[in-house]
């Protein structure tokens, strides 16, 4: 493989997407774990959708939502002078949405696993709900949160279907490593496909090993 752009783009997109999915995902996980409100089940279903939908369908909806004829797409174009779709930003959005349910589900389980008496004691001691979350819930859930972030990163790095739908396959611009592997295979360039696949598989294994480390370590 002599063109490293797809790998660098993939790492950049996955890192940005992980930041987005982590911030949004932990907030949503906390809301789902602690909140009692109407529509909670529906919200959870919508967040989980990217796991069960075909990635092309997810990508199609994102294309419809963010495309040049959509409200968001037009607003974006007015502000930034160019379309949102078929850009690196679109790839970040697609990867973020794909990663989000993995962050939310893992983080939610971790937050729900925190001993509720510790949270009760913090309230008894006079701490606001925000302080209870910051001092007690999130620190005690940190291993599960880290596992969710790692899983989200792996998912963001590996996204193919949603990314190709909404960001396209523009070499040197939006062609991420999974898409480059697809392209190389289609072109009969099995050498490049092998190298790209090996890199993605190696990163995935490292991430999964890291997750099992988070789970095993006890303090």
């Amino acid at each position: 493989m002599d063109d490293w752009f797809p790998l660098l783009l993939s790492l950049r997109v996955a890192t940005m997407a992980t930041l987005v999915a982590t911030t949004l995902g932990i907030a949503l996980a906390y809301l789902l774990a602690k909140g009692r409100f109407r529509g909670r089940g529906l919200l959870e279903a919508i967040i989980t959708l990217p796991i069960v939908l075909p990635p092309t369908v997810l990508g199609f909806y994102l294309l419809t939502l963010l495309g040049v004829n959509s409200g968001i797409g037009r607003a974006w174009e007015r502000v930034f002078g160019g379309p949102l779709v078929f850009t690196e930003t679109a790839a970040v959005i697609a990867a973020s949405i794909s990663a989000l349910p993995f962050v939310v589900r893992t983080a939610r389980a971790a937050i729900e696993g925190v001993d509720s008496r510790l949270e009760a004691l913090a309230r008894v001691a006079g701490h606001s709900e925000w302080h209870v979350a910051r001092l007690v819930t999130l620190p005690l859930a940190r291993r599960g949160l880290a596992a969710g972030v790692a899983l989200g990163f792996a998912r963001a790095l590996g996204d193919f279907g949603a990314t190709i739908m909404v960001a396209g396959n523009i070499p040197g611009q939006t062609q991420t490593l999974p898409i480059a592997v697809y392209d190389a295979t289609q072109a009969g360039d099995y050498g490049t496909a092998h190298v790209g696949s090996l890199i993605l598989a190696a990163i995935a294994i490292v991430v999964l090993l890291a997750i099992s480390q988070f789970a095993d370590r006890r303090i």
Partner: protein
Amino acid sequence: MSNVTITATTATGGSSVHADFVAGPGITALFGPSGAGKSVTLATIAGLLRPVTGTVTIEGTVVADAAAGIHMRTQERRLGMVFQDAALLSHRSPLDNVALAVRGGAGGRERREVARSWLERVQAGHLAHAPTAALSGGERQRVALARALAGDPRLLLLDEPFSALDHHTRVALRQLVLDIVADQDIAALLVTHDVDDILALATSVVVFEPGRTEGTYAVNARDVPALLRDMRVTPHGDPGP
């Protein structure tokens, strides 16, 4: 003078608990079989649960009134709470655990000073920076007691604080609780299964039967045989048939 008055029904997952008693100064024991609703009653007084009917009053302040829709937040009730297994934050030092419970606008350094003095008061000053997860059961309960006191509470809620301890440690901690309640001139509610706890600490005892309080009895040496008969228990034993 009454420190706590509760006449309230609290629903938890299908069953409900009706508590009706007045607790004065000193230590009032809540006694009865497991699952009778003693811990639910403490949670209702703490504001962690909302009663479906009735009222809770702490030192003359109505903190909960179901009919009037009053529910003072737990944070504002100025309580101290201790659970059976201490429930310390394992990612913080014992000193931090206590310092986090110091109330008011005090800065970090001031909170730590208050926390340190409370740790010393419970003879745990040497544990300030010990690894929290490595503390023994008795050490953990001392830290938990310091944490409960650090917020300058007007009422202590003790949920079986001695039941996980060996006999020797239990006797030492009983004396500590007795001394602190006398020194600080505060009231305490003590959930316990242990008649010895009641005899050693309590001025009165609220007896629970499943789902409700049965009655309140004064504890003094002369009345003890009658008290135990009333409670249908034998000394050193569990409730009889």
